[in-house]
Protein backbone atom coordinates (compact mmCIF):
# COMPACT_ATOMS: atom_id res chain seq x y z
CA UNK A 1 0.00 0.00 0.00
CA UNK A 2 1.29 3.43 -0.80
CA UNK A 3 0.93 5.97 1.96
CA UNK A 4 1.17 8.87 -0.46
CA UNK A 5 -2.40 9.45 -1.38
CA UNK A 6 -4.21 7.73 1.47
CA UNK A 7 -4.09 9.20 4.94
CA UNK A 8 -4.99 7.45 8.17
CA UNK A 9 -8.50 8.44 9.13
CA UNK A 10 -7.42 8.45 12.75
CA UNK A 11 -4.65 11.02 12.27
CA UNK A 12 -4.69 14.73 11.70
CA UNK A 13 -3.98 16.06 8.22
CA UNK A 14 -0.34 16.93 7.60
CA UNK A 15 -0.81 20.68 7.70
CA UNK A 16 -2.64 20.46 11.02
CA UNK A 17 0.09 18.32 12.55
CA UNK A 18 2.61 20.93 11.45
CA UNK A 19 0.55 23.77 12.93
CA UNK A 20 0.07 21.95 16.25
CA UNK A 21 3.78 21.11 16.44
CA UNK A 22 4.78 24.71 15.78
CA UNK A 23 2.27 26.11 18.27
CA UNK A 24 3.02 23.58 21.02
CA UNK A 25 6.79 23.60 20.71
CA UNK A 26 6.85 27.36 20.14
CA UNK A 27 4.90 27.86 23.35
CA UNK A 28 7.39 25.68 25.23
CA UNK A 29 10.28 27.57 23.65
CA UNK A 30 9.05 31.00 24.69
CA UNK A 31 7.74 30.07 28.12
CA UNK A 32 10.29 27.47 29.28
CA UNK A 33 13.45 27.28 27.19
CA UNK A 34 14.02 31.00 26.75
CA UNK A 35 13.84 31.83 30.50
CA UNK A 36 16.20 28.95 31.27
CA UNK A 37 18.76 30.21 28.74
CA UNK A 38 18.28 33.80 29.91
CA UNK A 39 19.30 32.96 33.50
CA UNK A 40 22.74 31.86 32.38
CA UNK A 41 23.20 34.60 29.77
CA UNK A 42 22.37 37.26 32.35
CA UNK A 43 24.65 35.64 34.91
CA UNK A 44 27.62 35.85 32.54
CA UNK A 45 26.74 39.36 31.35
CA UNK A 46 29.72 40.81 33.22
CA UNK A 47 32.13 38.11 32.12
CA UNK A 48 33.50 35.06 33.80
CA UNK A 49 35.45 36.88 36.50
CA UNK A 50 32.46 38.94 37.64
CA UNK A 51 30.44 35.73 37.80
CA UNK A 52 33.00 33.91 39.93
CA UNK A 53 33.46 36.93 42.13
CA UNK A 54 29.71 37.20 42.72
CA UNK A 55 29.54 33.56 43.71
CA UNK A 56 32.55 33.79 46.00
CA UNK A 57 31.06 36.64 47.98
CA UNK A 58 30.81 35.55 51.65
CA UNK A 59 27.08 36.34 51.77
CA UNK A 60 26.43 34.19 48.72
CA UNK A 61 28.45 31.33 50.15
CA UNK A 62 26.66 31.52 53.48
CA UNK A 63 23.29 31.58 51.65
CA UNK A 64 24.27 28.46 49.71
CA UNK A 65 25.37 26.80 52.95
CA UNK A 66 22.13 27.62 54.72
CA UNK A 67 20.02 26.41 51.79
CA UNK A 68 21.84 23.08 51.70
CA UNK A 69 21.68 22.73 55.49
CA UNK A 70 17.91 23.24 55.60
CA UNK A 71 17.33 20.73 52.80
CA UNK A 72 19.59 18.11 54.39
CA UNK A 73 17.88 18.61 57.74
CA UNK A 74 14.37 18.38 56.32
CA UNK A 75 14.69 15.39 53.98
CA UNK A 76 15.03 12.60 56.63
CA UNK A 77 11.73 13.76 58.17
CA UNK A 78 10.11 13.72 54.75
CA UNK A 79 11.37 10.22 54.07
CA UNK A 80 10.37 8.75 57.44
CA UNK A 81 6.90 10.27 57.59
CA UNK A 82 6.27 9.82 53.87
CA UNK A 83 7.03 6.11 54.06
CA UNK A 84 4.96 5.71 57.24
CA UNK A 85 1.97 7.49 55.71
CA UNK A 86 2.20 5.50 52.49
CA UNK A 87 2.53 2.21 54.40
CA UNK A 88 -0.59 2.86 56.44
CA UNK A 89 -2.62 4.16 53.51
CA UNK A 90 -1.53 1.73 50.79
CA UNK A 91 -1.45 -1.53 52.73
CA UNK A 92 -4.35 -1.22 55.16
CA UNK A 93 -8.01 -0.28 55.08
CA UNK A 94 -9.37 2.07 57.67
CA UNK A 95 -12.08 4.63 58.06
CA UNK A 96 -11.28 8.18 57.00
CA UNK A 97 -8.56 7.07 54.59
CA UNK A 98 -9.61 9.38 51.78
CA UNK A 99 -9.83 12.28 54.24
CA UNK A 100 -6.27 11.54 55.33
CA UNK A 101 -5.08 11.53 51.71
CA UNK A 102 -6.75 14.90 51.19
CA UNK A 103 -5.15 16.32 54.34
CA UNK A 104 -1.71 15.19 53.19
CA UNK A 105 -2.26 17.27 50.05
CA UNK A 106 -3.19 20.32 52.11
CA UNK A 107 0.29 21.92 52.17
CA UNK A 108 0.21 22.07 48.36
CA UNK A 109 -3.04 24.01 48.42
CA UNK A 110 -2.10 26.68 50.93
CA UNK A 111 -0.32 29.80 49.67
CA UNK A 112 3.32 29.89 50.86
CA UNK A 113 2.76 33.38 52.24
CA UNK A 114 -0.13 32.11 54.36
CA UNK A 115 2.06 29.25 55.61
CA UNK A 116 4.69 31.72 56.74
CA UNK A 117 2.08 33.91 58.41
CA UNK A 118 0.56 30.95 60.24
CA UNK A 119 3.86 30.17 61.96
CA UNK A 120 4.47 33.85 62.61
CA UNK A 121 1.13 33.95 64.45
CA UNK A 122 2.14 30.98 66.60
CA UNK A 123 5.79 31.66 67.36
CA UNK A 124 6.08 35.41 66.69
CA UNK A 125 6.44 38.08 69.39
CA UNK A 126 2.66 38.67 69.53
CA UNK A 127 1.88 35.05 68.74
CA UNK A 128 0.34 32.30 70.85
CA UNK A 129 3.65 31.06 72.25
CA UNK A 130 5.47 34.37 71.71
CA UNK A 131 5.62 35.54 75.34
CA UNK A 132 6.66 32.10 76.62
CA UNK A 133 9.38 31.78 73.97
CA UNK A 134 10.66 35.28 74.72
CA UNK A 135 10.77 34.52 78.47
CA UNK A 136 12.84 31.41 77.84
CA UNK A 137 15.01 33.12 75.25
CA UNK A 138 14.07 30.72 72.45
CA UNK A 139 14.04 32.19 68.96
CA UNK A 140 12.00 30.33 66.37
CA UNK A 141 10.67 32.99 64.03
CA UNK A 142 13.24 35.18 62.23
CA UNK A 143 15.71 32.40 62.93
CA UNK A 144 16.72 29.02 61.58
CA UNK A 145 14.11 26.89 63.45
CA UNK A 146 11.24 28.81 61.87
CA UNK A 147 12.73 28.40 58.40
CA UNK A 148 13.10 24.68 58.98
CA UNK A 149 9.51 24.35 60.23
CA UNK A 150 7.97 26.10 57.22
CA UNK A 151 10.14 24.01 54.88
CA UNK A 152 8.92 20.84 56.62
CA UNK A 153 5.36 22.05 56.10
CA UNK A 154 5.84 22.91 52.43
CA UNK A 155 7.62 19.66 51.50
CA UNK A 156 5.48 17.27 53.55
CA UNK A 157 3.33 15.80 50.72
CA UNK A 158 6.01 14.95 48.14
CA UNK A 159 7.25 11.54 49.33
CA UNK A 160 3.88 10.22 50.50
CA UNK A 161 2.25 11.30 47.23
CA UNK A 162 4.74 9.37 45.11
CA UNK A 163 4.66 6.27 47.30
CA UNK A 164 0.92 5.83 47.90
CA UNK A 165 -0.08 4.93 44.30
CA UNK A 166 3.11 2.90 43.82
CA UNK A 167 2.60 0.82 46.97
CA UNK A 168 -1.10 0.40 46.23
CA UNK A 169 -0.25 -0.95 42.79
CA UNK A 170 2.32 -3.35 44.21
CA UNK A 171 -0.20 -4.83 46.60
CA UNK A 172 0.74 -6.66 49.76
CA UNK A 173 1.37 -10.22 48.56
CA UNK A 174 5.16 -10.02 48.75
CA UNK A 175 5.16 -8.58 52.25
CA UNK A 176 2.60 -11.12 53.44
CA UNK A 177 4.73 -13.91 52.01
CA UNK A 178 7.79 -12.58 53.85
CA UNK A 179 5.92 -12.41 57.15
CA UNK A 180 4.37 -15.85 56.77
CA UNK A 181 7.84 -17.25 56.02
CA UNK A 182 8.97 -15.91 59.36
CA UNK A 183 10.58 -12.57 58.57
CA UNK A 184 10.52 -9.94 61.29
CA UNK A 185 8.83 -6.62 60.56
CA UNK A 186 12.12 -4.81 59.91
CA UNK A 187 13.50 -7.67 57.80
CA UNK A 188 10.36 -7.48 55.69
CA UNK A 189 10.71 -3.72 55.37
CA UNK A 190 14.39 -3.62 54.44
CA UNK A 191 14.46 -6.73 52.22
CA UNK A 192 11.07 -6.57 50.51
CA UNK A 193 9.37 -3.20 50.79
CA UNK A 194 12.34 -0.86 50.48
CA UNK A 195 13.82 -2.52 47.36
CA UNK A 196 10.36 -2.36 45.78
CA UNK A 197 9.81 1.32 46.48
CA UNK A 198 13.35 2.65 46.18
CA UNK A 199 12.88 4.46 42.87
CA UNK A 200 9.56 5.95 43.88
CA UNK A 201 11.08 7.07 47.16
CA UNK A 202 14.03 8.64 45.36
CA UNK A 203 11.63 10.38 42.99
CA UNK A 204 9.74 11.91 45.90
CA UNK A 205 12.98 12.94 47.61
CA UNK A 206 14.24 14.66 44.44
CA UNK A 207 11.04 16.70 44.17
CA UNK A 208 11.00 17.52 47.88
CA UNK A 209 14.63 18.59 47.72
CA UNK A 210 14.02 20.92 44.79
CA UNK A 211 11.16 22.53 46.65
CA UNK A 212 13.07 22.74 49.94
CA UNK A 213 16.00 24.50 48.29
CA UNK A 214 13.86 26.74 46.13
CA UNK A 215 11.10 27.78 48.52
CA UNK A 216 10.70 31.52 48.62
CA UNK A 217 7.39 32.88 49.95
CA UNK A 218 7.03 30.93 53.18
CA UNK A 219 10.69 31.17 54.12
CA UNK A 220 10.71 34.85 53.25
CA UNK A 221 7.97 35.59 55.81
CA UNK A 222 9.65 33.81 58.74
CA UNK A 223 13.30 34.50 57.90
CA UNK A 224 13.60 38.15 58.85
CA UNK A 225 16.13 38.56 56.00
CA UNK A 226 19.18 38.78 58.22
CA UNK A 227 22.16 38.84 55.87
CA UNK A 228 24.73 36.17 56.41
CA UNK A 229 22.45 34.53 58.98
CA UNK A 230 18.92 33.75 57.82
CA UNK A 231 19.36 34.29 54.12
CA UNK A 232 18.76 31.32 51.88
CA UNK A 233 19.84 31.42 48.24
CA UNK A 234 16.38 32.34 46.84
CA UNK A 235 16.11 35.18 49.39
CA UNK A 236 19.62 36.28 48.49
CA UNK A 237 18.58 36.45 44.84
CA UNK A 238 15.75 38.79 45.79
CA UNK A 239 17.97 41.10 47.85
CA UNK A 240 20.60 41.42 45.12
CA UNK A 241 17.97 41.95 42.43
CA UNK A 242 16.30 44.71 44.44
CA UNK A 243 19.69 46.37 44.85
CA UNK A 244 20.01 46.42 41.03
CA UNK A 245 22.95 44.04 41.27
CA UNK A 246 21.83 42.07 38.21
CA UNK A 247 25.02 40.09 37.77
CA UNK A 248 25.06 39.07 41.43
CA UNK A 249 21.36 38.18 41.42
CA UNK A 250 21.63 36.10 38.25
CA UNK A 251 24.87 34.45 39.36
CA UNK A 252 23.06 33.17 42.46
CA UNK A 253 20.01 32.39 40.34
CA UNK A 254 22.18 30.35 37.97
CA UNK A 255 23.19 28.11 40.87
CA UNK A 256 19.51 27.48 41.55
CA UNK A 257 18.82 26.98 37.83
CA UNK A 258 21.61 24.42 37.78
CA UNK A 259 19.91 22.71 40.70
CA UNK A 260 16.71 22.66 38.65
CA UNK A 261 18.53 21.09 35.70
CA UNK A 262 20.09 18.44 37.93
CA UNK A 263 16.62 17.80 39.36
CA UNK A 264 15.13 17.35 35.89
CA UNK A 265 17.90 14.98 34.79
CA UNK A 266 17.69 12.93 38.01
CA UNK A 267 13.92 12.79 37.69
CA UNK A 268 14.12 11.57 34.10
CA UNK A 269 16.69 8.90 34.99
CA UNK A 270 14.54 7.66 37.89
CA UNK A 271 11.48 7.59 35.60
CA UNK A 272 13.39 5.38 33.15
CA UNK A 273 14.48 3.07 35.94
CA UNK A 274 10.92 2.77 37.20
CA UNK A 275 9.61 2.01 33.72
CA UNK A 276 12.37 -0.55 33.12
CA UNK A 277 11.61 -2.38 36.36
CA UNK A 278 7.91 -2.43 35.61
CA UNK A 279 8.65 -3.93 32.20
CA UNK A 280 11.03 -6.47 33.75
CA UNK A 281 8.43 -7.42 36.33
CA UNK A 282 5.72 -7.72 33.73
CA UNK A 283 7.50 -9.78 31.05
CA UNK A 284 8.03 -13.10 32.86
CA UNK A 285 4.40 -13.03 33.97
CA UNK A 286 3.00 -12.78 30.46
CA UNK A 287 1.36 -16.11 29.58
CA UNK A 288 3.16 -16.51 26.23
CA UNK A 289 6.52 -16.45 28.01
CA UNK A 290 5.53 -18.85 30.75
CA UNK A 291 4.80 -21.79 28.49
CA UNK A 292 7.78 -21.44 26.16
CA UNK A 293 10.76 -22.99 27.95
CA UNK A 294 8.86 -26.11 29.01
CA UNK A 295 8.98 -27.58 25.54
CA UNK A 296 5.27 -27.67 24.71
CA UNK A 297 5.91 -26.35 21.25
CA UNK A 298 5.47 -28.83 18.46
Amino acid sequence: MSGQTTRLATAEPRWLRAVLMVVGLGFLFFFLALPLVAVFVEAFQGGMSAYVEALRHPETLSAIGLTVFIAVFVLPFNIAVGVAAAWAIAKFDFRGKSLLITLIDLPFAVSPVVVGLVFLLIFGAQGLFGPWLAAHDVKIVFALPGMIIVTLFITFPFVARELIPLMQAQGKDEEEAAISLGASAWQMFFRVTLPNIKWGLLYGVILANARAMGEFGAVSVVSGHIRGETNTLPLHVEILYNEYNAVGAFASASVLALLALVTLVAKTVVEWQMRRETVMLDTPLAPENVGQPSGTQP
Binding site: R17, A33, V39, V81, A84, V113
Partner: protein
Protein backbone atom coordinates in the same frame (compact mmCIF):
# COMPACT_ATOMS: atom_id res chain seq x y z
CA UNK B 1 -10.34 -16.11 55.21
CA UNK B 2 -8.38 -12.86 54.99
CA UNK B 3 -6.52 -12.06 58.14
CA UNK B 4 -6.76 -8.33 58.68
CA UNK B 5 -3.45 -7.93 60.48
CA UNK B 6 -0.98 -10.13 58.66
CA UNK B 7 1.23 -7.15 57.96
CA UNK B 8 2.88 -5.35 60.88
CA UNK B 9 3.28 -1.67 61.61
CA UNK B 10 -0.19 -0.32 60.94
CA UNK B 11 -0.53 1.33 64.35
CA UNK B 12 2.97 2.77 64.30
CA UNK B 13 2.75 4.07 60.73
CA UNK B 14 -0.67 5.62 61.16
CA UNK B 15 0.32 7.04 64.55
CA UNK B 16 3.43 8.74 63.18
CA UNK B 17 1.45 10.14 60.26
CA UNK B 18 -1.36 11.51 62.39
CA UNK B 19 0.89 13.06 65.03
CA UNK B 20 3.14 14.66 62.43
CA UNK B 21 0.22 15.90 60.35
CA UNK B 22 -1.54 17.33 63.41
CA UNK B 23 1.49 19.07 64.88
CA UNK B 24 2.89 20.45 61.66
CA UNK B 25 -0.19 21.16 59.54
CA UNK B 26 -3.54 20.94 61.27
CA UNK B 27 -2.83 22.66 64.59
CA UNK B 28 -0.91 25.56 63.01
CA UNK B 29 -3.67 26.13 60.46
CA UNK B 30 -6.33 26.08 63.13
CA UNK B 31 -4.10 28.52 65.03
CA UNK B 32 -4.82 30.99 62.25
CA UNK B 33 -8.56 30.50 62.68
CA UNK B 34 -8.12 30.80 66.45
CA UNK B 35 -6.21 34.06 66.08
CA UNK B 36 -8.88 35.36 63.74
CA UNK B 37 -11.63 34.43 66.20
CA UNK B 38 -10.03 36.63 68.85
CA UNK B 39 -10.54 39.61 66.58
CA UNK B 40 -13.90 41.24 66.15
CA UNK B 41 -15.91 40.08 63.17
CA UNK B 42 -16.51 43.64 62.07
CA UNK B 43 -12.83 44.39 62.05
CA UNK B 44 -12.04 41.29 60.00
CA UNK B 45 -14.83 42.07 57.58
CA UNK B 46 -13.64 45.66 57.13
CA UNK B 47 -10.14 44.55 56.25
CA UNK B 48 -11.22 41.67 54.05
CA UNK B 49 -13.58 43.90 52.05
CA UNK B 50 -11.52 47.07 51.92
CA UNK B 51 -11.07 48.65 48.51
CA UNK B 52 -7.43 47.57 48.31
CA UNK B 53 -8.25 43.99 49.36
CA UNK B 54 -11.09 43.70 46.84
CA UNK B 55 -8.84 45.03 44.10
CA UNK B 56 -6.18 42.46 45.05
CA UNK B 57 -8.74 39.62 44.81
CA UNK B 58 -9.73 40.88 41.37
CA UNK B 59 -6.11 40.96 40.20
CA UNK B 60 -5.29 37.57 41.74
CA UNK B 61 -8.37 35.78 40.46
CA UNK B 62 -8.45 37.47 37.08
CA UNK B 63 -4.80 36.76 36.32
CA UNK B 64 -5.03 33.20 37.68
CA UNK B 65 -8.12 32.45 35.61
CA UNK B 66 -6.55 33.87 32.47
CA UNK B 67 -3.28 31.99 33.05
CA UNK B 68 -5.06 28.70 33.74
CA UNK B 69 -7.13 29.24 30.58
CA UNK B 70 -4.02 29.88 28.47
CA UNK B 71 -2.48 26.75 30.00
CA UNK B 72 -5.58 24.68 29.26
CA UNK B 73 -5.44 25.60 25.56
CA UNK B 74 -1.68 25.38 25.02
CA UNK B 75 -1.22 22.59 27.56
CA UNK B 76 -3.68 20.44 25.59
CA UNK B 77 -1.75 21.13 22.37
CA UNK B 78 1.60 20.43 24.07
CA UNK B 79 0.33 17.20 25.65
CA UNK B 80 -1.16 16.08 22.32
CA UNK B 81 2.06 16.80 20.43
CA UNK B 82 4.17 15.04 23.07
CA UNK B 83 2.01 11.91 23.10
CA UNK B 84 1.03 11.55 19.44
CA UNK B 85 3.73 13.05 17.21
CA UNK B 86 7.23 11.65 16.86
CA UNK B 87 10.00 14.23 16.58
CA UNK B 88 13.71 14.37 17.42
CA UNK B 89 14.56 15.49 20.94
CA UNK B 90 11.12 14.56 22.23
CA UNK B 91 12.42 13.15 25.51
CA UNK B 92 14.37 16.32 26.17
CA UNK B 93 11.32 18.47 25.51
CA UNK B 94 9.21 16.20 27.69
CA UNK B 95 11.64 16.61 30.60
CA UNK B 96 11.67 20.38 30.09
CA UNK B 97 7.93 20.53 30.80
CA UNK B 98 8.69 19.99 34.50
CA UNK B 99 11.00 23.01 34.65
CA UNK B 100 8.47 25.21 36.50
CA UNK B 101 8.26 22.53 39.23
CA UNK B 102 12.05 22.44 39.57
CA UNK B 103 13.04 26.07 39.08
CA UNK B 104 12.76 28.15 42.26
CA UNK B 105 10.03 30.75 41.89
CA UNK B 106 12.32 33.68 42.67
CA UNK B 107 14.56 32.68 39.77
CA UNK B 108 11.57 32.43 37.45
CA UNK B 109 10.41 35.83 38.68
CA UNK B 110 13.58 37.81 38.04
CA UNK B 111 14.17 36.04 34.72
CA UNK B 112 10.69 36.70 33.35
CA UNK B 113 10.88 40.31 34.56
CA UNK B 114 14.19 40.73 32.71
CA UNK B 115 12.92 39.05 29.53
CA UNK B 116 9.76 41.14 29.31
CA UNK B 117 11.19 44.48 30.50
CA UNK B 118 11.34 47.25 27.88
CA UNK B 119 14.96 46.42 27.03
CA UNK B 120 14.62 42.64 27.46
CA UNK B 121 14.80 39.98 24.76
CA UNK B 122 11.03 39.82 24.42
CA UNK B 123 10.02 43.22 25.77
CA UNK B 124 11.91 45.11 23.07
CA UNK B 125 9.74 43.47 20.42
CA UNK B 126 6.48 43.59 22.35
CA UNK B 127 6.60 47.18 23.57
CA UNK B 128 6.72 48.79 20.12
CA UNK B 129 3.53 46.81 19.43
CA UNK B 130 1.94 48.52 22.41
CA UNK B 131 2.17 45.39 24.57
CA UNK B 132 3.63 46.33 27.91
CA UNK B 133 4.07 43.11 29.87
CA UNK B 134 6.56 43.67 32.68
CA UNK B 135 5.28 45.70 35.62
CA UNK B 136 1.63 45.44 34.49
CA UNK B 137 -1.14 42.93 35.28
CA UNK B 138 -0.19 41.20 32.01
CA UNK B 139 3.16 40.35 33.60
CA UNK B 140 1.31 38.56 36.39
CA UNK B 141 -0.50 36.45 33.79
CA UNK B 142 2.83 35.55 32.15
CA UNK B 143 4.38 34.46 35.47
CA UNK B 144 1.32 32.43 36.44
CA UNK B 145 1.22 30.78 33.02
CA UNK B 146 4.83 29.69 33.51
CA UNK B 147 4.03 28.28 36.96
CA UNK B 148 0.88 26.41 35.92
CA UNK B 149 1.85 24.77 32.62
CA UNK B 150 3.11 21.40 33.96
CA UNK B 151 -0.10 20.83 35.92
CA UNK B 152 -2.17 20.76 32.73
CA UNK B 153 0.33 18.83 30.58
CA UNK B 154 1.10 16.20 33.21
CA UNK B 155 -2.58 15.63 34.00
CA UNK B 156 -3.46 15.24 30.32
CA UNK B 157 -0.57 13.09 29.08
CA UNK B 158 -1.55 9.75 30.69
CA UNK B 159 -5.18 10.23 29.67
CA UNK B 160 -4.27 10.89 26.02
CA UNK B 161 -1.94 7.87 26.12
CA UNK B 162 -4.83 5.73 27.36
CA UNK B 163 -7.25 6.65 24.60
CA UNK B 164 -8.05 3.39 22.89
CA UNK B 165 -7.42 3.55 19.14
CA UNK B 166 -10.61 1.56 18.54
CA UNK B 167 -12.71 4.54 19.59
CA UNK B 168 -11.11 6.78 16.98
CA UNK B 169 -11.26 4.03 14.37
CA UNK B 170 -14.92 3.47 15.06
CA UNK B 171 -15.67 7.17 14.74
CA UNK B 172 -13.67 7.41 11.51
CA UNK B 173 -15.23 4.30 10.00
CA UNK B 174 -18.67 5.66 10.79
CA UNK B 175 -17.82 8.62 8.61
CA UNK B 176 -16.79 11.23 11.15
CA UNK B 177 -14.30 13.83 10.00
CA UNK B 178 -11.18 14.25 12.10
CA UNK B 179 -12.60 17.46 13.57
CA UNK B 180 -15.86 15.72 14.46
CA UNK B 181 -13.94 12.84 16.03
CA UNK B 182 -11.92 15.32 18.07
CA UNK B 183 -14.87 17.42 19.22
CA UNK B 184 -17.40 14.64 19.82
CA UNK B 185 -15.22 11.68 20.84
CA UNK B 186 -11.73 12.69 21.98
CA UNK B 187 -12.44 15.99 23.73
CA UNK B 188 -15.24 14.63 25.94
CA UNK B 189 -12.88 11.79 26.91
CA UNK B 190 -10.07 14.07 28.02
CA UNK B 191 -12.32 16.82 29.37
CA UNK B 192 -12.31 15.73 33.05
CA UNK B 193 -8.51 15.62 33.00
CA UNK B 194 -8.36 18.97 31.25
CA UNK B 195 -10.63 20.48 33.88
CA UNK B 196 -8.56 18.90 36.66
CA UNK B 197 -5.36 20.31 35.20
CA UNK B 198 -7.00 23.70 34.81
CA UNK B 199 -8.15 23.66 38.44
CA UNK B 200 -4.71 22.58 39.70
CA UNK B 201 -3.03 25.35 37.73
CA UNK B 202 -5.62 27.84 38.92
CA UNK B 203 -5.31 26.96 42.58
CA UNK B 204 -1.52 27.05 42.41
CA UNK B 205 -1.71 30.45 40.71
CA UNK B 206 -3.93 31.97 43.39
CA UNK B 207 -1.37 31.38 46.13
CA UNK B 208 1.72 32.09 44.02
CA UNK B 209 4.04 34.80 45.30
CA UNK B 210 7.71 34.39 44.36
CA UNK B 211 7.47 34.43 40.60
CA UNK B 212 4.86 37.20 40.49
CA UNK B 213 6.26 39.98 42.66
CA UNK B 214 9.26 40.71 40.44
CA UNK B 215 7.29 41.15 37.23
CA UNK B 216 4.04 42.59 38.62
CA UNK B 217 5.07 46.15 39.39
CA UNK B 218 3.02 45.78 42.58
CA UNK B 219 0.91 48.93 42.22
CA UNK B 220 -1.86 48.94 44.83
CA UNK B 221 -5.33 48.60 43.24
CA UNK B 222 -3.79 47.77 39.84
CA UNK B 223 -1.19 45.01 39.96
CA UNK B 224 -1.06 43.99 43.61
CA UNK B 225 -1.85 40.32 44.31
CA UNK B 226 -3.39 39.23 47.63
CA UNK B 227 -0.31 37.34 48.92
CA UNK B 228 1.75 40.50 48.41
CA UNK B 229 -0.86 42.56 50.24
CA UNK B 230 -0.53 40.15 53.18
CA UNK B 231 3.23 40.70 53.16
CA UNK B 232 2.92 44.47 53.04
CA UNK B 233 0.42 44.40 55.94
CA UNK B 234 2.96 42.34 57.90
CA UNK B 235 5.73 44.78 57.09
CA UNK B 236 3.57 47.56 58.56
CA UNK B 237 3.02 45.40 61.69
CA UNK B 238 -0.67 45.19 60.79
CA UNK B 239 -1.17 41.63 62.04
CA UNK B 240 -4.96 41.93 62.06
CA UNK B 241 -5.05 42.93 58.42
CA UNK B 242 -2.68 40.17 57.42
CA UNK B 243 -4.67 37.58 59.39
CA UNK B 244 -7.99 38.62 57.84
CA UNK B 245 -6.59 38.33 54.31
CA UNK B 246 -4.83 35.06 55.10
CA UNK B 247 -8.12 33.63 56.37
CA UNK B 248 -9.81 34.53 53.09
CA UNK B 249 -7.02 32.82 51.17
CA UNK B 250 -7.09 29.77 53.42
CA UNK B 251 -10.82 29.30 52.89
CA UNK B 252 -10.28 29.58 49.13
CA UNK B 253 -7.50 26.97 49.34
CA UNK B 254 -9.85 24.55 51.10
CA UNK B 255 -12.54 25.08 48.48
CA UNK B 256 -10.04 24.53 45.67
CA UNK B 257 -8.69 21.37 47.32
CA UNK B 258 -12.21 19.96 47.58
CA UNK B 259 -12.91 20.93 43.97
CA UNK B 260 -9.76 19.16 42.76
CA UNK B 261 -10.66 16.07 44.76
CA UNK B 262 -14.20 16.02 43.40
CA UNK B 263 -12.87 16.44 39.85
CA UNK B 264 -10.35 13.64 40.22
CA UNK B 265 -13.02 11.38 41.62
CA UNK B 266 -15.31 12.23 38.70
CA UNK B 267 -12.49 11.72 36.24
CA UNK B 268 -11.50 8.37 37.76
CA UNK B 269 -15.09 7.13 37.83
CA UNK B 270 -15.69 8.13 34.25
CA UNK B 271 -12.54 6.41 33.23
CA UNK B 272 -13.50 3.34 35.17
CA UNK B 273 -16.95 3.35 33.60
CA UNK B 274 -15.46 3.57 30.15
CA UNK B 275 -13.19 0.64 30.81
CA UNK B 276 -16.14 -1.40 31.93
CA UNK B 277 -17.96 -0.61 28.72
CA UNK B 278 -14.98 -1.58 26.61
CA UNK B 279 -14.84 -4.96 28.32
Amino acid sequence: MKNKHVLPGFGLALGITLVYLSLLVLLPLSGLAFKASSLSAGELWNVATSERALASYRVTFGASLLAAGINAVFGLIVAWVLVRYPFPGKRLVDSLVDLPFALPTAVAGITLATLYAGNGWLGRFLEPLGLKVAFTPLGIVVALTFIGLPFVVRTLQPVIEDIEPEIEEAAASLGASRLQTFLRVLLPGVFPALLTGFTLAFSRAIGEYGSVIFIAGNMPLISEITPLLIISKLEQYDVIGATALALVMLVISFVMLLAVNALQWWSANRHHGREKVSL
